[in-house]
Amino acid sequence: MAEPEAGQGRQMEGRARPVRLPFASTVFSQALMAASGAGLALFVLLHLLGNAAAYLGRAAFLAYARHLHGLGPLLPAMELCLLLLAATHVVTGTMLTLHNLQSRPLPYRVKAIRAASLSSRLMPLSGLVILLFLAVHVPAFRRPAGPSAELVRITLSRPGMATFYLLSLAALTSHLSHGLWSLFQTLGIVAPRYDQPLRRAAVIVSLLAGGVFMLLPLLALVWPDFLR
């Protein structure tokens, strides 16, 4: 008897579907997502520390900006690293999402959820929102000598912009709350004993980070003298 071929009879209501494979395998692609995501999350936490300077007042904020831009060639090197990490994350994520969308051509008419969190199911969507946010955020504040306190206040005190920032930061919080735990599982570096604490820590860290980030547009919106 002939060996059954892999993928034989792959028909759903008469239609054969091509399967698009991202990179070497789904597991390798997920590992790329986890590793690049870890790098990006590390940057987000560093960025958070910088932003926290703004809460200490105008002088602290300007001192932080001056210090950052005094790093010399280190700064463009870091920017290039971030760009590579982001590109890896976005391209691999897009390919995986396309692959996953094909894996169930006929959706369930009735589907209930047992364990999956909302944030885990929203990963592609929250990722897309963060990408759109970066397309606005980076051109708005990337200046050769760092953003001035006035630029921050004027930009974020516009209600439309502040709302956009708050929604995007909510997406970032959601993305991190799943991603910060998921990356350990994907890279296989978690002992079952630490699984529950790690999940809780991921949620707490992302909520804290989201809260501290959101405070900035909120303050700029309601307090005319912010950073003056």
């Binding site: 993928g7 995986l96 094909q102 008419r109 599982q185 994907t186």
Partner: protein, 248 residues
């Protein structure tokens, strides 16, 4: 006196893979709560047959939760609302009197529909054929204590080996991923000495077979673990990821 309840079964009917499907409602009439849902389907089928209609096709075999043959979505959940059971172990006492029970086949690109609730799960067999075995000659049975295996490794291997291949993990995964199924076998054999010689080759071959079949990627939603009638832990999936990355 045994308790009787009334249910309405809304069952997916589809004569074949190339024919359109739709839901059909079947009132149960008064039925004893000691019946299993599959026994209620048997009852409905008897009536359909007597009326000269086509009975509902569904997979089943041992009806005691160990063979992995049965499986369908009940109210949107693989194997129904009761946790750590297969469909055959779902009884009417687990369902609400007077309720509507929606029964739909497992859906995935890699599980093409054959008829009604029956889907072709041979993709799982092909993943197993790609490397889910030990082919090295291990000789005759050695003296029991020659190869020491830590109890925790033996326990984990046994837990991983409890997979019955029903496909509930795939059916409930938002990405229709089979990685818990793959992870179970990879983890089981990686824990034991017999699995060592083919360890790296096995994980690469099984993952690539799963990708070829059109299963999705694991997004760590944890739906598989929650739906698994044997409650296979996500730790096996993490071990598979580790095995895969170190094999490359």
């Amino acid at each position: 006196m045994e308790k009787l309840i009334h249910l309405t079964l809304r069952v997916w009917r589809q004569p074949g893979p190339d024919r359109p499907g739709r839901f059909h409602d079947y009132p149960s009439g008064p039925v004893a709560t000691s019946l299993s849902l599959l026994e209620l389907l048997d009852l409905v089928n008897e009536r359909l047959t007597l009326n000269g209609e086509e009975p509902i096709a569904f997979d089943h075999d041992c009806r005691e939760g160990i063979c992995g043959a049965c499986g369908a979505m009940v109210d949107g959940l693989a194997h129904g609302p009761k946790s750590e059971t297969t469909l055959c172990q779902l009884h009417l006492r687990d369902l609400a009197d007077g309720g509507l029970v929606v029964i739909e086949p497992f859906r995935a690109l890699a599980f093409p529909l054959i008829k009604d609730l029956v889907v072709d799960r041979s993709a799982l067999d092909r993943i197993m054929a790609a490397g889910g075995y030990v082919s090295v000659d291990t000789g005759g049975a050695p003296e029991a204590n020659v190869i020491p295996i830590p109890q925790s490794d033996a326990d984990q291997a046994l837990a991983a080996a409890s997979c019955i291949g029903c496909g509930a993990c795939v059916a409930s995964c938002p990405h229709a991923s089979a990685m818990l199924f793959v992870g179970g076998k990879v983890s089981q054999l990686a824990c034991l000495p017999q699995g060592q010689p083919e360890r790296a080759r096995r994980v690469l071959a099984m993952v690539s077979a799963a990708d070829r079949e059109g299963f999705g990627a694991c997004g760590n939603h944890r739906e598989c673990e929650a739906a698994c009638p044997k409650r296979l832990s996500l730790r096996h999936l993490a071990r598979m990821n580790r095995e895969y990355l170190s094999a490359r």
